[in-house]
Symmetry: C2
Subunit: 433 residues, 2 copies
């Protein structure tokens, strides 16, 4: 007699969900992975899509292809609309209607969304950079501003159309600011002779008095110097008070006319966390036990950006890919141990270090939180690690080729404006002739 | 004293417009190229985007980058809304409002649109494949059908969701049918274990009794055999009577349940042709003199798919890229000759031959309308010519790498569903916590 296998549902095919799924591949459980998209997104490179450095498909990969060899894993493309923790089932909206999917164990890896702090004006006028759609929308927007500026005679308006403000001095903000400046300086400037009277203008705004707060002081200083050597203007110690169409106002009273404002001050837990009906921690995160199970919600685990867990020193684990990866694996292991009636293990974080690229040949890295690197060497390490990481699940040589090509030629041939890719019915049919 | 330079406006950055612009580069005229998109589309490979073989950005290239070195050429992204041939100016809608642009000479290379013969049901339910948006929309649609089919229990419905009908037995129809079959057979089938009970089903429907009517009989027969050896079902001698959501009805009475119908029976001249207020020829094309100037519209030239001109035997030139390229060059030369008060030259077509790829390692080619090739050799020639042609203006190695990679691995990692890439304002802001 064989016992029926436990059914594990994983919500989200980001770093946390995918690593949980891969841990359960080939094990004695039935797994269902649910995601709104049919692809996994390599979020650390989204800023490269937004700045026309990489193709959208170079930073994402079909979920089914990643999980193809695991015969115990199914994939469902759809959006979770509710979770019934008593009946142990989730309700999923798909294009073919709603489905009810029962689970024995649920691993929620729904990630996070851009943190606008409830400010609607900012949400409406600034650009987030959390998923592939954000990146493509931002790319389309930037290129459209330049097309407009090329045919604008008013020099002030022209400057506002081509000024780009990045808000937030963390790794994403720094990477985006650097890449925007390079796009402007090495590529767009040459193709818009109408811009010759303008200097590239990328401004990085940070509310606190430091960039890259998580890094040690010498690396912070180096990052700042490297950014400034590129030509990025850095404004520290000033929060953003208001963002309107075409204008951004800082708390220090400065008003910057700019039609592109990228918002990367941080993230908030996915709204999906509210479906669990438990008190949420700061930033909308779901408090979990050290086994990653939710307080008061047996059989439900939360991992990654959406989970709130403190380390021994009382500091919450950061919302970064490495934590999501390691928590995804741990939660999956714990589920397996429960199906075997074994004791669960507490999550232990192995901190591999942090790094941020500032631009071509410019970066800072703090390997294992011990070895500091700056400049070209840090950049090579950043590049190498990201390539190995990316190719690990992607198996595609074209990213590497694309990067080498870009490095040698400053080519940004991805800069196409492609909008409205939903179905369009021709309104004005040519008549039969 | 220097005379003021003549101003030439070129509408459209397709093959015709781009070749006209390149002919005028560095000459003693001021040129303005207008296009709705900021990129040129390499249309012969659109079917590869639709079938997840190539990235969108691999078949398009920014217009500004192509024309970057020509200091006498400007680019305006916008849509022409009217042409005033008396005042010699065009009205252009841009994102920054409408502009009036005066011209001394106008070259219209606005191309063509899918020919639905005024049938609204077909336009609504079938998919065209004329521009990049069409290709991405079709890709999204096909992949979404498979995601739905994977979770459909009803075997008939499942079959309808995964059956793909291509209407039109010309080169585009054949290439699309072959590529769809390969996508299904080599890729999707393996990733959807739920499909194991289905055989791939791609049907090519042609109203006449032959495929590739422009080719000689032995090549037509070979193309048919090659397609059938792939596994594509061919239905000849039957027009399509009706296309509804999920169903297609043929004139011979057969009803095929199919949720994907690709419409490639031919093209109609761009609606822009009507702005000239001259009687149009069959298929909405604008009749032109052998100099490519429009009958009765001095200073206005039309080239490519939109132009109607007959060869010595009274046959209209076909709506293919080679004609557009050669006409674009000829029209530009004639404009230059007029600015020099020299006599214009008549258009003479140098027919390089025709070819169509049927699938991986399968093709037919009729080089110079003399040398017939079939099978692997024809395919290698097709591949080589398209690569040289594409790389000619594209200068990017990644297409080559992508193709070689696909050939060796049957990888189709481009198959992502990415819709709604217009700006989206978050409706449900997370609250400040």
């Amino acid at each position: 007699m064989t016992a029926q296998k436990a059914r594990v549902i994983i919500i989200g095919a980001g770093f946390g969900g995918l690593n949980a799924a891969q841990t359960l591949a080939g094990q004695a459980v039935d797994v269902l992975v649910i995601d709104r998209n049919n692809f996994h997104t390599f979020t650390p490179l989204l800023y490269q899509v937004a700045t026309s450095g990489l193709d959208p498909s170079e930073v994402v990969y079909p979920v089914r292809q990643i999980l193809q060899k695991a015969s115990n894993i199914d994939f469902l493309m759809g959006e979770v609309v509710s979770i019934d923790h008593t009946a142990q089932q989730v309700q999923v909206r798909t294009r073919a209607g709603e489905r009810t999917e029962p689970y024995d164990y649920l691993i929620i890896a729904a990630g996070s969304v851009t943190q606008y702090y409830g400010n609607e004006a900012i949400a409406r006028n600034a650009f987030g950079l959390k998923d592939l759609k954000d990146a493509v929308v931002l790319r389309n927007h930037i290129l459209s501003q330049f097309e407009q500026a090329a045919w604008t005679d008013d020099i002030d308006h022209k400057r506002a159309l081509t000024t780009m403000v990045v808000v937030g001095g963390g790794p994403t903000g720094i990477e985006t600011a650097g890449a925007l400046h390079e796009l402007y300086h090495y590529v767009l400037r040459h193709e818009y002779p109408e811009m010759n009277d303008l200097t590239p203008h990328v401004i990085l705004v940070e509310a606190s008095d430091r960039l890259l707060a998580a890094f040690p002081a010498p690396l912070r200083d180096s990052a700042r110097q490297q950014l400034e050597s590129l030509g990025v203007e850095i404004v520290l110690g000033s929060a953003v008070e208001h963002v309107d169409a075409g204008i951004i106002r800082l708390a220090n009273g400065r008003v910057i006319p700019a039609h592109t404002v990228v918002w990367s001050t941080g993230v908030a837990g996915s709204p999906l966390g509210r479906m669990l009906d438990v008190p949420l921690a700061l930033g909308g995160r779901v408090p979990v036990l050290d086994t990653l199970e939710v307080h008061g919600r047996e059989h439900i685990y939360v991992v990654g950006d959406l989970a709130y867990l403190e380390d021994e020193s009382g500091t919450p684990y950061p919302q970064v890919a490495q934590v999501a990866i390691q928590q995804g694996k741990r939660a999956a292991h714990n589920v397996l141990r429960r199906t075997e009636n074994a004791a669960e293990n507490a999550f232990q974080y192995r901190d591999l270090g942090i790094m941020a690229t500032v631009g071509r040949s410019r970066a800072v890295a703090w390997l294992g939180n011990r070895v500091p690197l700056t400049g070209f060497i840090a950049w090579v390490v950043w590049l190498g690690l990201h390539l190995v990481w990316l190719i690990g699940f992607r198996n595609r040589a074209s990213v590497l080729v694309g990067w080498i090509w870009n490095y040698l030629t400053y080519d940004r041939s991805v800069r196409i404006i492609l909008e409205n890719t939903t179905r369009h019915i021709p309104a004005n049919l040519p008549e039969t002739q």
